[in-house]
Amino acid sequence: MPKFLLIFILFIFSFSKSQQINVILKDEQGNSTENVNVQLLKNGNILEFKRSNKEGVSVFNISENGIYTIKLTSVYYKTEVFELDTREKTSFTFIVKQQITEIESVEIKSRPRIASAKEDTISFNIKAIKDGTERTAEDLIKKMPGLSINENGKISYNGNNIGQVLIDGNEFFGGNHKMATQNISADMLEGIDLWQNYTTINGNRSSALNLKLKDKYKGKISGNIEGNYGLNDNYLGHANLFKFNKIGNLALILDANNIAKDPISFMDFYEMNTQNQIDNASESTSNIDVPSFLNNDGKVKSKDNQFSALQFSKTSRKYSITAYSILNAAQLTKANLTERIAFQNQPDTYNFLENRTENNKGLFGITQIKARYNLSENTFFYYNLGYNSTNDRFNQNTDRAFSDVDNTIEIKNQSKSYHFNNYLSFNTLLGKNTKAILDFSQNNSSVNKDLTFNSNIGLFGNTFNYLHQNFILDSQQYSINFYLKNKNKYLNFNFQSGFTYRNSESVNDNSLLNINDKQKIDSYNYINSINISKQIQTWDLSASLDWHNLILNQENQNYFEKKAKIKFSPDTNTTQEYSFEYRDRYENPSLILLQDNPIFDKNLSYSINGNLLSNELSHYNSYKFTYRRFNLRKGNNWLIILLYDNTTDVFTTNGINYGTYSVYENIFGKMKDRWLGLLSNETPIKSYLSLKTKLSAMKSDSDNYIQGNENKTEIQNFEINQQLSTNFKKFPVQFDLGYIYNRNKFKQKYYLTESSQENLRILSGIRMNIKKEFIISILGEYLKQKTAIQLQKNFLVGGQLSYKKEHSNMEFNVRFNNLFNLNNFNYINNRVTEMGTEYSNLAALNGYVVGGMKYNF
């Protein structure tokens, strides 16, 4: 028995000893080597890690005997891999060979991910993308996967427009994205977050792009002031002053230039004057005419701007306030030469060569104040005041050379308008899942237009050479709405009930034609609306039904409007979404379309109501399919949109050509339809190279009349845009190479007449950051424009050179545009209208070179 016990003890002892192995390391001189990383592996998998001690020993515990691998790593010794068999012995000695691993200084620009998603927030990693060639926030945003900025400065994410751009969570000039993206410098930003479920100041849900500032720009006055002057007396002055702190965010932006650099676009103007509606209610609308001087499509001969904007926003637990005021004056000139060839069966005397110059001076001011007062955590008041005033002075000289007569006309058009609105809502949570909103709104607007013609021959088929028209359109609108929104475990349910009264009155005064016509529309619109939505696993379903009871000048109408949406988001590693939307709505003709007497227009035409009645409705249907795919990790994304919309009982025109002038009768047409397709893709080809592709196609058919004959106007547009951009991490030079091919086609089917125009742009750009002091960006463009009878080729070179010594506040700039066309530059434009085929040559902005200094603080 004692023998048995001894054997048992020895067995246990030997077993426990067999679980431990010693690894002894020595260098080539036989000295012990300490601090070497020793990994024990089996079948390629790391089991344990130790560091050798002063004696060069590492001890491992193993669960079973067998063949193991030892991997040795160290900054002083060569990486070695040895095999050891623990069935043979338990102590192993290895010789390590000296080899020094050099540690270089490395700045890790790449971050864990380009973008990361957490719940409804996507955080973009600026450091992963920034290479030092970016000047403004806009330059950074353009590089972020899925985000893009269109020509009007609007930011979209995977094809969906972003609602707000915020600075550290605070609103900044409402829906005007450019104010933030073009005035906040790239260096001021620490990060960018996309909030997909942002609650706006009025309690709506929207998406928002939050620009996060570096700490050093908080709590002090920061910004920059810049002055530039150059050839042909061109100048650009710009100043940004910001103070972002606990008292609130304050921003002042000033600009003056004569290089047609528009601080805000006509889209911004439209959106800044659009009152935010409660979601699920009718579309946001604005009744304000966009001033003609804002409509800068790049085809101006000259344009001067003077601009100032002031913004304040502050958010606290009790209240939020955001207010801004903008003042913009502009002076612009346009010039174009147009040859119009009337349709075949019309007299040759209707053909003309027109030389037109436009001189336009304008001024507008916008003030918006939005405030929210929280009565409790779940109850708040929201108030919005908006005021806009515009003065638009338009002068036009038109010389039309017909085969039998030369017609010279001077046209003056002055338009003054103002718009004033108040909006108040009371929002409260009833219980846990129900939200109730009661809102009141009031809108007043007035437009006063004076139009004067002076001609060397009789105007509009009459004998008089002078014509003056005064047209006034006033409207008042009052509405009250109640909304109930409930979210329960079965579905989301929204209900709206409301009433809108609108009074519109027009006065058309034309003493020469003995016209003094007053027209009026009183409308009472009662709306009841239901919206139901439900998420079933990866499916989102929603549907809305709106019932309208509309009384227009005592005529009663009832109609239903419908909306439905199905969205499928499969549960995959990449974010994917398929959605289908359907919508139908009705529209009454506006008071302008209903005018029983001629309304003259500066384009030497007049419009008049043909057969429209105020209570008749146009019916609009729209079908939209969208596919989105976004790989956050790789930054690869796809967007496909197919849209078809169709309008029946459309408000259209019967166009009649009288040679020296034309007439448009507003009448009912059968239908108008439109197909639109968009494909957008962004693919990183290599870690340093990405390809952006955008392909769009549009086809629109609309029924109208020419000289009383049924006609169909068809417009086709196709565009493909591909751009390769580098993103070298360690190389301070980046390249862009791409092309844009665009083809437009216009057809008038009754006369079987068509025209087309092709534009090809080949773009090549270089962006450099030399020693963190010079930033150079140059974009060269070859532009070829071609029509059936015209061909125009141009080289355009533009860019900016900046020098800023590191840690210096002073920056030196040279900006240039269209360098090879400093004195003369034209675009061509070719189209078939209801009056004939027009070949136009438009004077475009000449090139410029300006240089100056910018002081950052």
């Binding site: 601090n35 990383n37 990994q39 390629g44 998998n45 790391i46 089991l47 344990e48 890690f49 560091r51 002063k54 991997k71 790593t73 160290s74 900054v75 002083y76 990486t79 020094i100 691993t101 050099e102 540690i103 270089e104 200084s105 490395v106 700045e107 890790i108 620009k109 790449s110 971050r111 864990p112 957490k118 719940e119 927030t121 450091k127 550290d168 969570g169 620490e190 990060g191 977050d193 996060k212 570096k214 700490d215 637990r317 955590e377 991490k729």
Partner: protein, 249 residues
Amino acid sequence: MKKTILFLFLFSVQFMYSQDALKVEYDYVVKPNGVNNSRRTEAYQKTFEEQAKTPEKQVLYYYKGDLFFRNFEKPEIVINGDNSKEGNTMTRLKERMTFPVSRFYKNKDDDQTYELRTYPKVEQFYHYYKPTWEQINYKNETIKIDKFECKLVELVQKDGKIVKVWYTEMLPISAGPLGFYDFPGLVLKVETDSYVCYATVINNNASAKDIEKPDAKLKSYSGEDYDNKVQEIRSFLLNPTETRKEIRL
């Protein structure tokens, strides 16, 4: 010739030394909802979210096997609540947001590490311990951080939560941020439920002077003593500070 040899020798000695020095800067980002502030007021939560948006800079010094890791102090933020009135007494809840101080000291010859624990206006002491985990699972998964191939190791904590650590054998120095230093290469990224910490700059600008030593005046606790100490402080901190001012009406 002799001068050249001497120069090369001195140069190589200098070079040898430089391999024993490492400075790594890290960005530390608190994840949204990574910290439970549900017992705090809305104003506190909002301020916390704002603060969490900016990555915190942290730095690791390594010199001849010794480690020192630290963050940079941020002043506390005082969030004043609304006044509430009871009789003639006006009460206002004042919340203080403090930012943890991170200090880790690890001597080459010591198996354990000193971690500075700071409870503002209460006490400072060291936790002296060896970081341990329920499981250490070396994974085959790799990611590339800049030019560095990084391997993943998953650490299972006592509460079952997993910490993901990425280290690179291309820099075979056993060092890393916070308590994550015991791996076969430099740790470039650590991710937990509540934060991400990732390397931004690596160089060898470290010297003996950068390796701070634990303050001898402060007490050290380990094992059960430490657990008891933490429990004692927690119970002290459970009640928020109230500032009462009597305003005679």
